[in-house]
């Protein structure tokens, strides 16, 4: 974001490599395999969507990428270094905005800077981030005073203020009404284009994946395996009615085993 503001439009997102990543949970004493040898290569500034049926382990994958959990087997690397712990360069936007109710919007957005002791020197970034998501007038509001869409925008600002090189989006629009959702999808694309971070989006919405991402990774049922990869090189803004878009959507539904639905 700062790079974009400084007029430097070169791609500065980070790379992400998943090498044979497998993960198991311990469920009532039984090992429950969730991820099965997932390998993936995401390039600098790419927008990749991970699509799969609910409960297939998409969110687990994102927690591994964020460094919140460590995989049972395999390795995750960013810029060639192994991911071992959370890092503010890889920020997650969760399905639930999870703003702290005791903080105003402004201090919620300030969270990352405050945690790293950068609040005093980088204060102006908060205003910039609020402007970027269109919440300038709501700096002093408390989270319970915001609508669902505004809260999710505040959560986005809280992520962007840290100038992430990898933005991890865990169904960030899942709880929004359909109109707000469409508006936010457009905003997400333009934010990504302006700030040039690498984006990893988890969703179970086929259209959303195809509208936003350049590449859609389709996962199988649990334990999740990569089933297919669909590339969408259409320019933005994309239109749902475009024949090529419709064709890609059909293709993705076929990979999900839902071809009869269309």
């Amino acid at each position: 974001m700062v790079a974009a503001m400084a007029g430097d439009h070169s791609v500065r997102g980070s790379t992400l490599t998943l090498r044979e990543v497998s993960h198991r949970f311990n469920f009532e004493g039984q090992p429950l395999p969730v991820l099965d040898r997932i390998s993936l290569q995401v390039g600098r500034g790419e927008f990749v969507a991970i699509l799969g049926p609910s409960g297939c382990g998409k969110s687990t994958l994102l927690r591994l990428v964020a460094g919140l959990d460590t995989p049972t087997a395999g390795a995750l690397l960013t810029e060639g270094r192994e991911i071992e712990a959370p890092d503010p360069s890889r920020v997650v936007v969760f399905q639930d905005p999870t703003l702290y109710p005791w903080r105003t919007v402004w201090s919620n957005v300030a969270l990352g800077l405050e945690a790293r002791g950068l609040l005093r020197t980088h204060r102006e970034r908060i205003e910039d981030a609020l402007r970027l998501v269109g919440l300038t007038g709501f700096a002093n509001a408390y989270p319970h005073q915001l609508s669902g869409g505004m809260a999710q925008r505040a959560a986005l600002a809280r992520a962007l203020v840290n100038d992430p090189t990898l933005l991890i989006l865990d169904e960030p629009l899942g709880q929004l009404d359909s109109l707000t959702r469409i508006a936010m999808q457009t905003e997400l694309v333009s934010l990504w284009q302006r700030s040039s971070f690498t984006a990893l989006l988890v969703t179970h919405d086929v259209e959303e994946a195809l509208l936003l991402a350049g590449r859609v990774i389709v996962l199988s049922d649990r334990p999740a395996r990569i089933k297919a990869e669909v590339v969408n090189s259409q320019p933005y803004p994309r239109h749902r009615g475009n024949p090529h878009f419709v064709k890609l959507r059909r293709e993705v539904f076929e990979h999900l085993g839902l071809e009869d639905a269309w």
């Binding site: 460094g67 999870t98 005791w102 840290n162």
Partner: protein, 339 residues
């Protein structure tokens, strides 16, 4: 519902009752009836002679004070017609009215008719007498009680808070402190009384220990449960944003736990009052609890009532203060919970 009805012009307004329906008029009538009630207290005290052979020194003074209050209330009622600020008195007017009636009845059955046995039921002027004649000792008592309570309460609350956070956060602290808490916590603090007065060098320090113990237990348990209840998503968010352990405790766990902590602080305050009075009655030679005990020894029941009244003011005042503090600190909860 009433607001909808109010918008419809009612026939009563045309028939001249509209005069009684403006809030200023209602406030005036309410205020004046309160003034009348207090004038009755004043008149009854002044003109109905006390029962023969009684020597209540302040009967006249009490009558004058009630009369002055009645006058002030009447003036406030008239001021309410012009100034909205005085109309707020309207809210407490029913209570002031009832209080006046209660005082009048009390005055009648004690000083005037002598229906209740003395010295157990003194008339109101006897309590006024105590407050005026013995104010030095009462003030000393208030000061001593407040000092003891404040020291013990703050100590207990602070230690309880720190312990609660430690148990909630650290597995090791939980392992060692939790069983002790489970075993000793439910014991009433007063059970330690004989031991405390024997072990501690002074009854003052022993009482501080007891009050701190009574305060500390609920504060510890509720702080702990508050910290334990914090959503793990709050920690995930902070961790991905680069938070250190210290930040997670100070800026995530503690603020999120504050609503629970305040429940503990309220419970602790209630407990501390009980222990304070018991400690003062049994060991400490100062304070309102001691004054109560001392007054009973001399069969000075008016003094006891005065001390009880002051104690009630002290305790309810402190509870109110704690509410104010909570409202300030947790104002973000407005709109989230029923406030």
């Amino acid at each position: 519902m009433s607001s909808v009805i109010d918008e419809v012009p009612r026939p009563s307004e045309k028939s001249g009752f509209g005069f009684f329906e403006s809030s200023a008029t209602r406030s005036l009538i309410g205020g004046l009836s309160v003034a009348v009630a207090w004038s009755i207290v004043a008149a009854l005290t002044a003109f109905w002679p006390d029962k023969p052979e009684s020597d209540w020194v302040y009967t006249g003074g009490f009558a004058i004070a009630c009369g002055a209050l009645a006058l002030a209330l009447a003036l406030a009622a008239f001021a309410g017609v012009r100034f909205v600020a005085f109309q707020r008195l309207q809210r407490v007017a029913p209570w002031l009215f009832a209080l006046g009636l209660f005082l009048a009845a009390w005055e009648a059955v004690t000083a005037k008719l002598g229906l209740l046995p003395l010295p157990f039921f003194p008339p109101p002027q006897a309590i006024v007498e105590v407050v005026i004649d013995d104010w030095g000792r009462l003030a000393e008592g208030i000061f001593a009680s407040a000092r003891l309570l404040a020291t013990g309460y703050f100590l207990g609350a602070a230690l309880g808070f720190v312990t609660g956070v430690a148990i909630g956060w650290s597995r090791l602290a939980g392992y060692w402190i939790h069983p002790v808490l489970r075993f000793i916590g439910p014991l009433p603090a007063t059970a330690w009384l004989p031991l405390a007065f024997f072990v501690f060098p002074s009854s003052f320090s022993a009482s501080i220990f007891l009050i701190a113990l009574a305060t500390g237990f609920p504060v510890t348990v509720l702080t702990w449960s508050g910290v334990a209840c914090v959503k793990s998503a709050y920690y995930d968010i902070a961790r991905t944003l680069g938070a250190t352990q210290r930040f997670l405790v100070l800026k995530v766990a503690i603020p999120a736990a504050m609503p629970h902590v305040f429940v503990g602080l309220f419970m602790g305050l209630g407990n501390s009052f009980a222990v304070l009075v018991v400690a003062e009655m049994l060991g400490v030679k100062a304070g309102l609890g001691w004054y109560l005990q001392w007054a009973q020894g001399w069969a000075a029941y008016a003094n006891m009532y005065a001390a009880l009244l002051l104690m009630a003011f002290l305790c309810s005042g402190l509870i109110t203060l704690l509410f104010r503090f909570r409202d300030r600190l947790l104002s973000w909860q407005k709109g989230l919970v029923r406030w």
